[in-house]
Subunit: 321 residues, 2 copies
Amino acid sequence: MKKTKAVEPIRWRGDRLELLDQRFLPNKTVYVTCRTAEQVARAIRDMVVRGAPAIGCAAAFGVVLGKGSAKAHEVLRKSRPTAVNLFWALDRMKGAKDLEAEARAIYQEDLTANRTMGKLGAELIPERARIMTHCNAGALATAGYGTALGVVRSAKDKKISVIACETRPYLQGARLTAWECVQEGIPCTLITDSMAGHLMSKGDVDVVVVGADRIAANGDVANKIGTYALAVLAKRHGVPFYVAAPISTFDPKIPDGSHIPIEERPADEVTGYRKLRWAPKGVAVRNPAFDVTPAELITGIICEKGVVLAPNREGIRKLLG
Amino acid sequence: MKKTKAVEPIRWRGDRLELLDQRFLPNKTVYVTCRTAEQVARAIRDMVVRGAPAIGCAAAFGVVLGKGSAKAHEVLRKSRPTAVNLFWALDRMKGAKDLEAEARAIYQEDLTANRTMGKLGAELIPERARIMTHCNAGALATAGYGTALGVVRSAKDKKISVIACETRPYLQGARLTAWECVQEGIPCTLITDSMAGHLMSKGDVDVVVVGADRIAANGDVANKIGTYALAVLAKRHGVPFYVAAPISTFDPKIPDGSHIPIEERPADEVTGYRKLRWAPKGVAVRNPAFDVTPAELITGIICEKGVVLAPNREGIRKLLG
């Protein structure tokens, strides 16, 4: 059996940050080297690195490279709007005395949180479960190991399998989640996003586990566009729907999901893929990158501090202590 | 203003059938010439021509080219399994004395049915409605004018606009529906299939209109994969959900949707697009081309014989007379 190497999306080298360029996966494994905060901000904006916890970690190292300057903070803060982990990490860096030590701590704590979530989440997964997931909430979206895919990894002994929604327009499911599963020997079936409902109606999905980009005080969850539809379909078919996310993804200042800013990304992500264009000229485009799943559709939120079942304002407050 | 030419997906030339090769739209407008029933069957299977009514028309001309032989019927009958219009047209051709006259009649009747459906359906569309549609149920999917897009065309004076779901994996929405709308000067916004729920939750969708590949005796509708999710989301948001389809799409011998055969298409449609591949080797794939929307989720079925609101067994029986 092939020995699998842990995926390293973020490598700190003391004087520079190396980011695995996720735009080229799975076809090419290349790293982008950042020596300034501006370069890190651009890498975040252009999706060299993506996934809420990974963005937070990268931004923390960006502050180190920018020597904690106001300008570094500003450029990083403007890189992407939805994942709150970015702002959480920047706020933490503001209060830090030793910038590098703080960034390393953010990174290490994320790794540890993912392992803990994996363990807590795996207890919720039945034997031989067919686990549907959306986008990539794996090692690539975090410091390593993953949130939703961390739960999958921790449940591997239960002979689970994964159903990966391809996640148009950016294809994080087809490119990244499928790749992580193949690397790790976890059976993975790829579908288009439009097939999820059909599979649920046939009884082919046992549980849904996704990550999150921001969780409001009432338990509403912003996550990759398409998550909301999965939650609505899961509810209709009685399929448990779990969200796995670390404390850094919670935003208790936001009362509910309607207040979460939703990034609108460039039209050319929708009119084609990379250099290929298939839509005709003259068509308008919408490209919201995230949607909001109301708490009422969520069976439980898995966090390193514990699992909140039937999440609501009270449950979230207790969790955050 | 640019003069628009009617789209001609199917041209009968007396001794040959010319099919607009929809695989290359909107980038190239090329026709495939078929001189035998086998060539027509291959064109259907390979999706040179697609869309339930268009498949029926093409198959009828295929029988003419095959001189009504048993072999011609057999090869055409095996080309694709879900759209019942294929079998309806073949059955009609079996009983015909003058094959060419019968095929021409099937074609002409489809054109007329689309115009009638358009008129009936347009009455259901509010002024300035933002009409979401899935796949392509337009001129390209029929003899001309379209079923769902026929309703859109007939409602053009109401200053409607279209939201086209791209319809992975084959991108009929992005390539064909968007193209038809642009050609005709109908405002059209393209989204990925995963964005439909988000737009509905924001109140940005007034009505959904789709086509159909087979309608069971109880009003359950098989249509392009992803239709079911749209219907579930529309129900949740109180958005009316209409199906537009001619009599040739009804299959009263099928008691309900669970009995409709669902075609599973090749994996490479999901792992990439055309020659581009983005999924890693080693991943499994599901590729059901259709799903079933239960009648309870359907506001009305628009047919050339009338509109059946809240469709059920009784309503369908009355319609079919």
